[in-house]
C-alpha cells in the first residue's frame, strides 16, 4: 500500500518523465575538484544504493548528489531515472526512504520551494522575466519551474548542461548556466537557516479546513491526521460541508511530510456520487505546504487528465479556542437591513453576545438568530454610508482578513481564468476540462475598471453560454463542447480533430450596467487537440503549454 500510495502521490513526476523531461544528469560526473562545499550524505541507504557510481570523498560528499538539492518531485524523477536507465534496484520501501532523506536533507527551503509551488500544485501560471537564452536552452521541454525545482553548484549546472547536450542534443549555453547558477545556487541563506531547524515535523492532529472549489463556492470542515505506523506516513480523514447546500464530502487518504513542510498525499471518497469530471468525490492528489510553526497549511487537492480540477485548500490546527473559519456570504450591500450571515467555525462558546462579532464600520449586529459550537447565525444591518471594499470579520480574537466585502454596486464582472485551454480526448488521453467563475468587481476610488484599486467582491450569479469565434450569436456549438450551469466547460466527446477559439460568456442574472443591460464577462478559451505532429516531431498538451515529446512515432494500427 505504501508503494502504491507513494507512486500515486507523486504521479505527476511519472507524467513529466513520460514527456521526456530530464533534470538530473544520469551519469555521475568524474569532473574537476568541486569549487563549492558539498552537502555530506549521512544516510546509509543512499550510500549503499548510490555509492557504486556516486563515489564519496573523505568529507562524506557523494559525486553529484552532494552538490544538488531538489523538491520531492525532483528527487523522485532522479530516482526513477536511475532505476530505469541504470538498473538501480530499489524496493518501494527503499524508494520511500531515499525520497524522504533526499527531500529533507538535500531539499529546498520553504522560501525556495514557494517559487515553484504553482508547478507542483498544478496551477496555471505565467512565467515571466526569463531570459531568451534560458528559454531557448530549457523551454522546449521544461517550464521554468521545473528548472527552479533544483538548486545546484556552478559545476553541477555545467554538468547538467553537458549531459543534456549529449543526451538531447541540446546546445550548451554559457549564459543560461550563469543565469541558473545565480538564480538557483546550491548554497543560500534560506537553506542555511532551514537546515538548522528541526525537520522532523509531526502533522498529526485535528485540522480545520477551508476548501474552495471554483464555481461551487466554499466548503468548510476538518481533517484528522494520524500516524499510520509506517515510517513517516500518515492516514487522513477529511469531512467537508458546502456552505451553499449543506452537502458533505468525506475523503480518506494517506500522506507524507517531506522536509518538514511539504505534504504530499492522496485521498479518495468512498461515496462516489457521479461520473462527472468535477465530482468532488474523485480521487485526488494532495499538495500542501505547512507553515514553519505547523499552525497552518495551504495547497491544492486535484485530479483530471491535466490535474485541472480540484479544491484550493487552507488548513489551520484546531485549538481549544473559538476559531472563525469563514462566513457563508462574501458580500453585503450598503443600506441593506436584517441580512442573515452565518459564521462557520470551531469551539464557539455556549454563551455569546452580539459584541463577540465584529464586521467592521457601518455593519451592526441586529440580533443573534441561533448558534452552536460550529456556527453562529446573525442578522446584520449595513449602513448606507458604510465604507466600501473588503474588510475583516472577527469573532472575539479570531480574525479573518478580507472575508467580507461591502458594496453599493457591481461595476463589472470578470470571468476567471481570463484565458484558458481545454482539450478534446483521443484513444490514450482523456478530455481536458476547464472550470470558469464569474467574479464581481467594483471600480475602486479611481472609477476605472481593471486597475489596481478595483475591489474584488466575490462570485456573482450568472448564466453561462459560449460562442465560437467568427460565428454568429446563437450558432450551434455542440461539436466543440458545452458550458454547464456551474461554469464547467466540457469538450465534445468526439474530437473534430481541430482547434477552436471560443468565448465563454457570463451574463449576470441581476447586476446591470449604467445602461440597464446585464453585466457581461468573457473568457478566451482555446479548445485543442491533445496531440499533434509538426515537422516530424510530436507535441503533447500539458496543463497550460505544449511540450515537445520528441520524434513522431508511427501510428499503431
Amino acid at each position: 500500500m505504501i508503494s502504491k500510495f507513494r507512486s500515486t502521490a507523486l504521479l505527476w513526476s511519472l507524467f513529466f518523465l513520460n514527456f521526456g523531461f530530464a533534470q538530473v544528469s544520469s551519469t555521475p560526473g568524474q569532473g574537476e575538484p568541486a569549487s563549492e562545499e558539498g552537502i555530506p550524505v549521512t544516510d546509509a541507504l543512499v550510500k549503499a544504493k548510490c555509492g557504486s557510481c556516486h563515489t564519496s570523498d573523505d568529507r562524506g560528499n557523494m559525486q553529484r548528489i552532494s552538490w544538488e538539492r531538489a523538491t520531492p518531485e525532483g528527487w523522485e524523477q532522479a530516482l526513477r531515472r536511475m532505476t530505469l536507465l541504470y538498473d538501480v534496484d530499489l524496493t518501494p520501501a527503499e524508494t520511500g526512504h531515499l525520497l524522504q532523506y533526499l527531500s529533507t536533507y538535500h531539499g529546498l527551503a520553504p522560501e525556495e520551494a514557494k517559487k515553484v509551488t504553482y508547478d507542483v500544485e498544478r496551477r496555471i501560471h505565467e512565467e515571466t522575466a526569463i531570459p531568451n537564452t534560458v528559454m531557448s536552452a530549457c523551454g522546449r521541454c521544461h517550464n521554468f519551474a521545473r528548472v527552479l525545482s533544483w538548486r545546484r553548484s556552478v559545476d553541477d549546472w555545467k554538468e547538467l548542461s553537458r549531459a543534456h547536450a549529449v543526451r538531447y542534443n541540446a546546445r550548451p549555453s554559457e549564459e543560461a548556466i550563469a543565469f541558473l547558477a545565480k538564480m538557483a545556487p546550491l548554497h543560500t541563506t534560506e537553506w542555511a537557516a532551514w537546515r538548522t531547524r528541526t525537520l522532523d515535523k509531526n502533522p498529526a492532529g485535528r485540522w480545520l479546513v477551508t476548501a474552495y472549489v471554483l464555481g461551487r463556492i466554499r466548503y468548510f470542515g476538518e481533517m484528522q491526521i494520524e500516524s499510520s505506523g509506517a515510517d513517516g506516513e500518515f492516514n487522513t480523514r477529511a469531512t467537508l460541508q458546502s456552505v451553499t447546500d449543506g452537502s458533505t464530502v468525506v475523503r480518506s487518504g494517506r500522506g507524507l511530510m517531506y522536509g518538514g513542510y511539504a505534504w504530499r498525499g492522496f485521498s479518495r471518497s468512498g461515496n462516489v456520487t457521479s461520473s462527472a469530471p468535477n465530482d468532488l468525490s474523485n480521487d485526488a492528489q494532495e499538495v500542501m505546504t505547512s507553515a514553519p510553526d505547523e499552525s497552518n497549511a495551504e495547497g491544492r487537492w486535484f485530479w483530471g487528465q491535466y490535474q485541472e480540477l480540484g479544491f484550493d485548500i487552507r488548513m489551520q490546527r484546531a485549538t481549544s479556542n473559538a476559531t472563525l473559519l469563514g462566513i457563508d456570504r462574501p458580500l453585503l450591500k450598503t443600506g441593506s437591513r436584517s441580512q442573515r450571515i452565518r459564521l462557520i467555525g470551531d469551539h464557539f462558546p455556549a454563551q455569546i453576545a452580539q459584541a463577540d462579532m465584529d464586521f467592521g464600520p457601518g455593519v451592526t449586529v441586529r440580533r443573534i438568530v441561533s448558534h452552536n459550537a460550529s456556527e453562529v447565525i446573525a442578522e446584520v444591518d449595513v449602513a448606507l454610508d458604510a465604507p466600501l471594499g473588503k474588510r475583516q470579520v472577527a469573532f472575539r480574537r479570531s480574525v479573518m482578513p478580507g472575508a467580507l466585502a461591502v458594496y453599493d454596486r457591481v461595476d463589472y464582472i470578470k470571468v476567471t481564468p481570463d484565458s484558458a485551454t481545454a482539450s478534446f480526448g483521443n484513444q490514450t488521453r482523456s478530455r481536458g476540462y476547464q472550470q470558469f467563475e464569474a467574479i464581481g468587481y467594483q471600480n475602486g476610488p479611481d472609477g476605472k475598471r481593471r486597475t489596481a484599486d478595483d475591489v474584488e467582491l466575490g462570485p456573482v450569479d450568472v448564466t453561462w453560454s459560449m460562442r465560437v469565434f467568427y460565428e454568429s450569436e446563437g450558432s450551434r456549438t455542440d461539436s466543440v463542447g458545452t458550458v454547464g450551469p456551474t461554469g464547467l466547460f466540457i469538450p465534445a466527446a468526439d474530437s473534430p480533430e481541430n482547434n477552436f477559439d471560443v468565448w465563454v460568456i457570463a451574463d449576470a442574472r441581476t447586476e446591470k450596467d449604467s445602461d440597464g443591460k446585464p453585466l457581461v464577462g468573457k473568457s478566451y478559451l482555446v479548445v485543442t487537440v491533445p496531440v499533434y505532429t509538426f515537422n516530424g516531431r510530436r507535441y503533447v498538451r500539458d496543463l497550460d503549454r505544449w511540450v515537445d515529446d520528441g520524434p513522431a512515432r508511427p501510428v499503431q494500427q
Partner: protein, 128 residues
C-alpha cells in the same frame, strides 16, 4: 504563459500548414492579407489576454445601426513589453482602427493600427 504563447504559435503554424485544419486556432489565417479597412468606433471592452488580445468596439454603419466588431491583436505577452496594459483601451474610448477583415464576413478584423481620439497611435507588434 510565455511558453504557452510560443506553443500556441507553433500549433497555429502547424495547423495553418495542415489542409484539414482550416478552422483551427486561427493565428491570422482567418484574416487574408488583402485590402485593409478602417473603422471609427467606441471601445466596449478590451481583453488583454493570450493567445490574442481582443478589442470589442461599436461602429455605426451607413444607416446609423450599431454593429459590434471584434479586433484581434497579438498576445498579451507580446504587447506588454511595448507598454500595453489592461487599461490601454478603456470603455467608451473613441478609436480609429485599421486592419484586415475576416474572410467569412464576420465583424472581426486583424488589427494593424489603432489611433485614439487624441491622435495618439498605440504601438503594435508586427503580429504573429
Amino acid at each position: 504563459m510565455k511558453n504557452t504563447v510560443l506553443s500556441f504559435l507553433i500549433i497555429a503554424t502547424a495547423l495553418l500548414l495542415n489542409p484539414n485544419s482550416a478552422r483551427g486556432h486561427h493565428g491570422w489565417a482567418a484574416f487574408p492579407s488583402g485590402s485593409q479597412i478602417t473603422l471609427k468606433g467606441t471601445v466596449m471592452d478590451f481583453h488583454f489576454v493570450n493567445p490574442h488580445s481582443v478589442v470589442e468596439f461599436a461602429v455605426k454603419d451607413d444607416k446609423g445601426q450599431v454593429q459590434v466588431w471584434e479586433g484581434e491583436l497579438t498576445s498579451r505577452s507580446n504587447l506588454a513589453p511595448r507598454g500595453w496594459t489592461a487599461t490601454s483601451l478603456e470603455d467608451r474610448d473613441e478609436v480609429t482602427i485599421t486592419g484586415y477583415p475576416a474572410k467569412n464576413g464576420a465583424h472581426a478584423m486583424r488589427i494593424t493600427r489603432i489611433v485614439l481620439s487624441n491622435g495618439k497611435e498605440l504601438k503594435l507588434s508586427g503580429g504573429n
